[in-house]
Symmetry: C2
């Protein structure tokens, strides 16, 4: 196992300490339980967004904590849900009196633990609204989910709803924005290689030298099909077709295209894929209004990519463009 | 060779077309010869910065074209210098009458070709000032250089000098900023894995399952030492010690620490390394004023990292903090 780590058990805490050292102007961390909160949290009178999930998907979610995005993030062990206590304590820490929105990716452990945390917080008088992301069109049920998995749309929902919270939206309004983004976003991913969870010490799965997996999950869980490697354009088409036909996106729709690297994918390959995405959207009559190209929801060192398409309206576009300042996404400030 | 590409010969042009599709508000591209320029270039009356080098190091350099950074970037074939004609044409395209600064990484081919391009431009009446980056402390001469190689400090020089150009600095002033940054920055890198140049189809070099290479170059050229894999903290110390002792950095110095991924390194590992960087700087009495953590000067899918330290003064800090809007670096706008 070739990784830049020290002790296997220290990876998450050490990465959080590295984040704190790198971004003291943006975030604060707590260790035991582990969470990242916006510097100076809580912001009184503002709705606070909290997300979380297993570690190994960086920059998601800790890298999205800051002005205009998340108030708090709870990283579990690698590919393991955060605990109810952890989420509860983070929720309490960022609560500014206007309520807390939990953004939950649809994995069984995450959903259960966020539910328990919400109950604990509500018992103390903190209003919590939960919104689940389940945008992965690859599979209906899966290894870790009832229903679809939550993947790339999560990043977009955190940005867009974070902007609504920042400008003073109510608890109901901010949670509704998360639900609107989830209803308007669809994703699918693929892998060229596996990844190795540090505590396991060996690859989560094996892929032959000429194989790829289409519809892979962000924990390496099986997708739709294992098949021979193909040219990038054909791979993009294999992901885009089910993504576009599911919503469905229609000619004339305005869209944000998010081409995401899985962690070990060089940027030059993401732009090769982006070229075909733009071309294919043109063929479908879609209007490419915004893009996000980079590794934002990853699976350790897995090579591969996912494509997320979000249908935009004026309000989502306005909130996407609003200023944000986090370790991983920043503009306008 | 597992890559998200189509035809090997099309990788660079297709990636450029993907960049153009993703960032139409920021850049324009030309194919044959290939270059990326700031949208609307030239900016009349402003000094223009042009850089370039082999492809495979994305986002460097094309990802740094935009307001407050580069006016133009010339990508060669993968790990191959751009041609004199290519650099010349890009120089002419971005020239706004106030002169053009060439930022050149110290590799024999790059230096020669930029020199020839500068002569061609000067023969047409375009003033060109060249500044070479040679910040890699790993080796004195190397496979592709007389003298030290140019690596991570290039990114910082492009940002900082770009800010000086944006605010109206003269040709001499902007070139002097590049030289000051080069004189104040030191870098060293390491690799856990090799990388595969698409046209070669097999790894540039081989590393055993328990081996790493310290002092690696960004084209996979040999470094100082091949040795058994060690914990991340020990690796950071092996890079930091020669970096800090070379300038030398002294107790009380203000510094920017740039922890850079080689392309296939997950962000969680860069933050694990960042933790030790911050700790070690504290032990050395250095003041960590700014950080940059991410994959900005890469070697295709190589796993590994490099560390660049830049000594800051008030002026460099002011220029670093100035607004920038490029595909890969953005703040303040």
């Amino acid at each position: 196992m070739k990784k830049l780590i020290n002790q296997v058990d220290d990876v998450v805490a050490e990465a959080l300490r590295g984040m704190a050292a790198a971004h003291p102007d943006l975030i604060e961390i707590n260790l035991g339980p582990d969470y990242v909160v916006r510097k100076g949290a809580p912001v009184q009178g503002r709705v606070a967004l909290v997300s979380g999930g297993g570690s190994g998907h960086e920059p998601m979610h800790g890298g999205f904590v800051g002005a205009g995005m998340l108030a708090g993030a709870c990283p579990g062990a690698v590919f393991t849900s955060p605990t109810p206590d952890q989420i509860h304590e983070c929720t309490r820490r960022v609560s500014g009196g206007a309520g807390v929105v939990h953004i939950v990716k649809n994995y069984t452990g995450d959903v259960l633990n966020f539910e328990m945390a919400a109950e604990l917080a509500q018992a103390e008088g903190i209003e919590v609204a939960s919104a689940v992301i389940d945008d992965d069109v690859a599979v209906k049920d899966s290894l870790y989910t009832a229903g679809r998995r939550g993947v790339g749309t999560t990043v977009l929902a955190e940005k867009i709803a974070g902007a609504r919270a920042e400008e003073g939206g109510s608890l109901v309004e901010v949670a509704d924005v998360v639900r609107t983004v989830n209803a308007s976003g669809r994703s699918m991913g693929m892998a060229l290689t596996s990844c190795t969870v540090p505590s396991a010490g060996e690859p989560t799965f094996e892929l032959g030298e000429d194989e790829m997996e289409i519809g892979i999950g962000i924990h390496g869980e099986p997708g739709r099909e294992r098949m021979p490697l193909e040219p990038a354009d054909r791979i993009v088409d294999r992901l885009l077709e089910p993504v576009l036909s599911d919503l469905p996106f229609r000619s004339g729709d305005r869209v944000l295209a998010f081409v995401n690297g899985m962690g070990g994918t060089p940027l030059i390959e993401l732009y090769v894929a982006m070229r075909r995405v733009a071309e294919a959207l043109g063929e479908a009559g879609l209007r490419l209004e915004r893009t996000l190209v980079g590794s934002y929801i990853t699976s350790l060192e897995m090579a591969g990519l996912s494509i997320t398409m979000l249908r935009l309206d004026d309000e989502l576009l306005r909130l996407w463009d609003a200023p944000v300042h986090t370790p991983a996404l920043r503009w306008g400030m």
